[in-house]
Amino acid sequence: MAQVSIRKVVKEYEGGVQAVKGIDLEIADHEFVVLVGPSGCGKSTTLRMIAGLEEISGGEIAIGGGVVNDIPPRDRDIAMVFQNYALYPHMTVYDNMAFGLMLRKFDKAEIRRRVENAARILDIGMLLDRKPKALSGGQRQRVAMGRAIVRDPKVFLFDEPLSNLDAKLRVQMRTEIKKVHQTVKTTTIYVTHDQIEAMTLADRVVVMNHGVIEQVGPPTELYHRPATKFVAGFIGSPAMNFIPARLEHGSGALNIHLPDNIVLPVPEERRSRYASYAGKEVLFGIRPEHLTEIRPNDHRPNLAPLHLTPEVVEPMGMETLVHIWLQGTEISARIDPAIPAEPGRPLALAADMGQMHLIDPQTDRMI
C-alpha cells in the first residue's frame, strides 16, 4: 500500500513568504500523478516536502498510511529522480545504482540481481562499468531512474527529470518513463512545467499556481472542462484564446459579441447555463484547434463561420498556425496546411461553438 496523502500542507519560508498555501491531495496506490504549473507555483516545494528534503511548516503528509512529517528522507521509503540527474561522479553506473542498497545492507547477490534487472528494464546493461561523465544526457537520466527502480520504494518522485534533455530525447524518455511505470507500477509523483509531459504521462494532473491547487483531474477532463482561466490557458498548446466579449440576447438566441462586430451564437444546450450573464462582460475562450478552416462536408454541430485576416502565418508541416489580432487581442487558429494562407489575406474560418468556454472576468472561473 503506497497511497500518499497531503493534508492542509503549508510551506512558509523565512520572512513569511508562503510557497505552498495549505494544499490537500490524495494520491492512490499505483497512481501516476503529475504536478504541473509555472515557475514558483510551489510544485517542486511540494515534491521536496514529500521527499523530506524540505521541512513542512503546517499540515500533514502521509505515505502508505503513516504520517512522515518528522521522518528523515532515508526512512520514508521513497526514491527521487532529479532534474540534473545527481549521479555520484566518482562511482560507476553499477555503484551509483547499488549505493542505496549497499547502505541498506542488502546482500551482494540481491544487489546484483536488482541492478541487473533495472538495467534490463532501462536498457543500460552495457553501461554498468562506465562513470557518469562517459554517458550522454539520456543515458545519465536512465541511470538516475535505475537508481530509483532498484530500491523498489513505495513512491517514485520525479523533479522535472526531462528538462535538461533536448526536445527529441525528451519525447523518447517520456515514453520510457511511461513504459517503466506500466512495468513496475509504483506510485509516482512527477513534477514538470511542461503541460504536454503532464498530459501524456499522468493518470491525474494537478495544476498548481501561486502555491494553491487550481484543479485536479484526468488530462482529458482538464483539457475539456478546465475550472479556471489559468487551467484553461495552461493546459493545451498553443494556449486557449481569450477574447473580451459581451453576452447579449438577440432574436430568441444568446449571442457572444466580440470585437470587430463579430457575433457568434451560443449553442442551444448552453443557453440556460449562460443566461444569467446576459448583458455582462465576459471572456470568450476557444482553443486554436477549435478555430479552423471551413471544411467541405463538415458535420460538426454548432459551427459558426467568421472571416478573419491573419497577420502572421506559421506553417508547421502537419498544420498551419495563423495569428490574428482582434483589437489588441491576439488569437490563434489551426488550419489545414493545404489551405493557402498568407498575412493580410482574409481567411474563412469556423469556430466550433460546442467547444467554447465562457469565463467570468471577476472571478476568472469558468461559467
Partner: protein, 300 residues
Amino acid sequence: MSATAASPSAAVPGLGRRIGSLRKERRWALLTAYISLVVAAIVMLAPPFYMLITSLKTSAEISDLSGTPWIVRNPTLDNYWALISDPMFRGFFFNSVKITVCVVAITMVISVFAAFSLARMKFFGSGVLATGVFLTYLVPDTLLFIPLYQIVGNLGLLNSIWGLVLVYPTLTVPFCTWIMIGYFASIPKELDEAALIDGANWMQMLTRIFIPVALPGIIAATIFAFTVSWAAFVYPTAFITRPDEMPLTIGVVSQLIRGDTFAWGQLMAGALLAALPPVIVYAFLMDYYVAGLTAGATKG
C-alpha cells in the same frame, strides 16, 4: 560583395579601424606569451640555479671571486655528503617529517569536518563562523608568535617539536577549511539530497560522497598544509633552541652559520635538500590534482 570577399584594407564599419588577420593576431599573442613566460622562468629559476651551482663548489672555489660565479669549474658532491652523513642533519630532517605528518593529519581531519559542517549543515551562525574562520587566517603569524610563545611555554612544550605540532594548525586549519568550504559548496546540492534519499547519514555522505568528489580540493589543502608546516621559519626560530628538536629550516641555518662564518656550499646543499620533499610532493600529487572530477554528476 560578400563579407568574406571584403578586402583587408577596408575599414570595419563603426570601429574605424582596418580588418585584422586572425592568424597574425594569434601569432602576436603567442609571441608575447612566450616572451613573458621565458622572462618569468629566468627570474624564478635563477636563485635555485645559483643555489645548485654553489652547492657543487668547494669552499675555495666559492671564495675565489675571479671569473663568473655562474659556472662550476670543479664540481663536487662533498657538501651533500657532509650533510647526509651528519647525524644532526638527519635529525633535523626527521623532526621536519614528524612535525609535517602530524600537522597535515590534524589539519585535514579538522578542516574537512569543519568545512563540511559549515558548507552543508546550515545551523545558527554558520555563515558568521565561516567568515570568522577566514578572518583568523588574515592575522599575521608574526603577531601571533608572542602570545603563542606564552601558551606553548605554559604547556611546557618549548624546545619540543610537539609545541610546533600544536601551533602550526592555527595557521593551516583556517586556510584549509576555507579552501574546503569552497570545494564542498561547489558540489551540487542534489548530490547530497540523492545520498540522503539513498539512505546515507551525514557521516556516510561525507566519507562516501563528499571526500571522493572533493579530492582535488583535499589535495590542494594537503599541499598547502604540507608546505606551511615544512617551510615554517618564524615559529621554530622562536620556540626551539635545542638542536636535537630543530626542524630542517632552522637547523640548517643555525648549525651552518657560526658567527660571521657562512658555510655557503653546505648551506646551499642543505637548502636544496630541504626543498626536495615539497617538490616531490607537488610532482606526485599534481597528477591527482585534476579539476573537473565532478564532470558528469549533473548536467554540464
